[in-house]
């Protein structure tokens, strides 16, 4: 699904990612944990095609293609989804129009006819029911005036609508109360299947009680310094990141 070899990226002469390696196979759930400033969000952004990073180096292969050759929108259409840590508010763009444009771009890419208005609304209704979302969000402008929890639920809703092959969820748990966290986690679990992979980027172990990872990686100073099973997350929760920092030094 995704193979990252020696990935490097800088921002204004500061090296953020310093040779990161990761291999994600179809159906797997990977958790990437790490202290603040270790490069977690940069990893999500670089994979999704955000511009503005310098000295981009290394190899990233996604479904057999060189990811760096693809624009952000093409990565999305090939099945890569980024759930934002801070979803952007876009006043004046109704959520419904935004999602419809998005879904139909994905369909066009797959050679399918665009959905009619009624087909689209039906699909939206199904996904909302699946995720137990209230229907108000789609009547508003994209993320505008949404609470932190609503924004994160909206990310999961978009993921459900677009059915990506690989979802990267960047700190989707931050700022969520336990009920919202459960809705988000249930959403991720509901979409889980052997063809679909997930990378959960998180600071805390809490989310991993609900989304059980197959692998846990610790990102520190732009590299994956430790990998293990789900028990590694528990160990981190108990000992904190200082233990890793010492070990790395």
């Amino acid at each position: 699904m995704l193979t990252i070899k020696n990935l490097k990226a800088s921002v204004e002469d500061k090296e953020i990612l310093r040779g990161l390696n990761l291999d994600v196979k179809a159906g797997e759930v990977h958790a990437i944990m790490g202290p603040n400033g270790s490069g977690k969000s940069t990893l999500g952004n670089v994979l999704s095609g955000k511009e503005g990073y310098d000295d981009l180096d290394g190899e990233v292969e996604f479904l057999g293609e060189d990811l760096f050759e693809l624009a952000a929108e093409d990565r999305a259409k090939k099945g890569l989804f980024l759930g934002f840590q801070y979803p952007v508010e876009i006043p004046g763009v109704p959520m419904v129009n935004f999602l419809k444009a998005s879904v139909n771009e994905h369909r066009k890419f797959k050679g399918l006819e665009p959905l009619s208005a009624s087909e689209f609304l039906k699909l939206m209704r199904e996904k909302k029911e699946m995720l137990h979302l209230d229907s108000q969000l789609t009547n508003r402008s994209v993320n505008e005036g949404f609470s932190g929890g609503e924004k994160k639920k909206n990310e999961i809703f978009q993921m459900a609508m677009l059915e990506p092959k690989l979802a990267i969820l960047d700190e989707t748990d931050s700022g969520l109360d336990i009920d919202a966290l459960k809705i988000v986690a249930d959403g991720v679990n509901a979409l889980k299947n052997p063809e679909r992979s997930t990378i959960v980027i998180t600071h805390y172990q809490r989310l991993l009680e609900y989304i059980v990872p197959d692998f846990v990686h610790v990102l520190y100073q732009g590299q994956i310094v430790k990998s293990g099973g789900k028990e590694l997350a528990l160990e981190l929760e108990e000992k904190g990141y200082d233990w890793i920092k010492k070990e790395t030094v």
Partner: protein, 454 residues
């Protein structure tokens, strides 16, 4: 410097001599109501002349270069050899309007008769109505414009012979909007002077849509004045769509006087055109009156659009709300200057103003200048202006959902304009303008009608 002044004098003299040389032609066929103002007005014009950068109110727009060009002036109605009713089709499918055509500032002689107008409603050409029903005109014409210190308004008063006239009597609600199509059409460069007068009687309601178009590619210069009187309890909507060729320059002054408890909404969308200056003066002259003033422009190439507003809160308990938005591409230049004046004792005034601008290139330029003059103490006033670029974070967010960069930009620009568009109170017109703006932003809009008269 002396050379510059000499040049200014020469330019102004050209227009004053033009007036005196054609005084007879100007007066011929015109009502005394128009004629008696002419000479006073040309003297008023002579005092300041065509505004250049030295005129504080025109500091962002120098009108002199466009007035220096040679134009043909038309002092009487010229017959149009084709039937414009057949040629012009405004293709707004659900927009059921009464359509009125004007050509080069003159009321088109073969306008279809407007049947079904409620009793007492008068729609016609200013020249004809002033001659046939002077009682409808004399108490209104120039009552606002004469107070203006703008030399361009005086120049209009000196030269104006015709334009759009509308009178809606007390208590009459006109359901269907009136659509006034201003067509510019000539083989050579022409100068047009259009004078419009609209009167909304007590507790009356009407909606007017002005569409400014060019049917030919020539150079045009229009110097227009519109006076609108909104009597007590009346509700008036005035929408303007400016979509002319890029050699068409215009100076448009609109005056609105509002009486007690009246409600005005005016919204201007500028799509294509050359140099455009829009002056809007609103006098809230009766308590509890309200004005919404909206404007948006989408410019590229060498377009120059300058919106100048002046909201006068002359009585207590009035509210006004202004939102102006501009999207500037390529080498275009925009300006917004908005003045709010709250006079002494106009207590409990609430006046708001906002101007937001997006620059799409490094060479596009925007000037913005809010001005609040508040002579009362119990008021709520605010203003804000922003000049920015497309939000890169939002752009990335949209692209990660599979929408390409060009479409994502369009989505954001449409959203930016949407705040102004959504305030249009005629639904089919709102949808239509939404569509026009989208086309304009895509660079696909040349004309907004299916008229093929080029």
């Amino acid at each position: 410097m002396t050379q510059l002044i000499a040049k200014d004098i020469a330019l102004n003299e050209r227009y004053t001599s033009l007036f005196y040389e054609n005084k007879e032609a100007l007066e011929k066929g015109s009502s005394p109501i128009l004629n008696r103002m002419r000479e006073i007005a040309i003297k008023r014009f002579e005092k300041d002349g065509i505004p250049g950068f030295k005129n504080e109110n025109y500091k962002y727009t120098n009108l002199q270069p466009i007035f220096e060009k040679k134009y043909q002036h038309i002092f009487e109605y010229k017959r149009v050899e084709v039937d414009l009713n057949d040629v012009f089709r405004c293709d707004v499918p659900q927009l059921d309007t009464y359509v009125v055509l004007l050509v080069n500032g003159w009321y088109y002689a073969r306008n279809r008769e407007l049947t079904e107008l409620p009793d007492g409603v008068v729609v016609g050409g200013l020249q004809q109505v002033a001659n046939e029903h002077p009682e409808l005109v004399q108490d209104y014409l120039n009552r606002q414009a004469a107070l203006s210190d703008d030399p361009m308004v005086a120049l209009n008063t000196a030269f104006a012979k015709d334009g759009f006239f509308m009178f809606v009597p007390d208590n009459v609600h006109l359901e269907k909007p009136i659509q006034v199509i201003n067509l510019m059409r000539a083989e050579e460069s022409i100068f047009a002077t259009q004078r419009n007068l609209l009167v909304a009687g007590k507790n009356s309601q009407f909606k007017v849509v002005f569409c400014d178009h060019t049917l030919t590619q020539g150079e045009f210069l229009s110097n227009n004045v519109t006076e609108v009187f909104v009597e007590r309890d009346a509700v008036v909507d005035l929408y303007t769509v400016q979509n002319q060729n890029n050699q068409a320059n215009s100076v448009n002054a609109s005056f609105f006087k509002q009486e007690e408890n009246s409600n005005l909404l005016t919204s201007t969308a500028t799509l294509h055109g050359g140099l455009i200056r829009n002056n809007v003066k609103i006098t809230l002259d009766g308590e509890y009156s309200h004005a919404d003033v909206y404007g948006m422009s989408f410019t590229d190439k060498k377009q120059h659009v300058d919106n100048y507003t002046n909201i006068e809160h002359a009585k207590a308990n009035c509210t006004s709300n202004q939102v102006y938005k501009n999207v500037l591409d390529e080498d275009s230049v925009g300006a917004f200057a908005g003045r709010i004046h709250v006079v002494r004792d106009a207590q409990k005034t609430a006046a708001f103003q906002r101007n937001n601008n997006v620059l799409l290139t490094d060479s596009a330029k925007m000037n913005t200048k809010p001005q609040l003059i508040i002579d009362a103490d119990d008021v709520k006033c605010s203003h804000g202006a922003t000049i920015g670029q497309i939000d890169e974070e939002a752009l990335f967010y949209i692209r990660t959902r599979g929408i390409n960069e060009a479409d994502a930009r369009l989505m954001l620009m449409n959203a930016f304009a949407h705040e102004v568009i959504q305030e249009i109170r005629v639904e089919p017109l709102r949808d239509r303008i939404d569509e026009l703006v989208d086309k304009r932003l895509r660079g696909e809009l040349a004309r907004c009608h299916s008229c093929d008269m080029n």
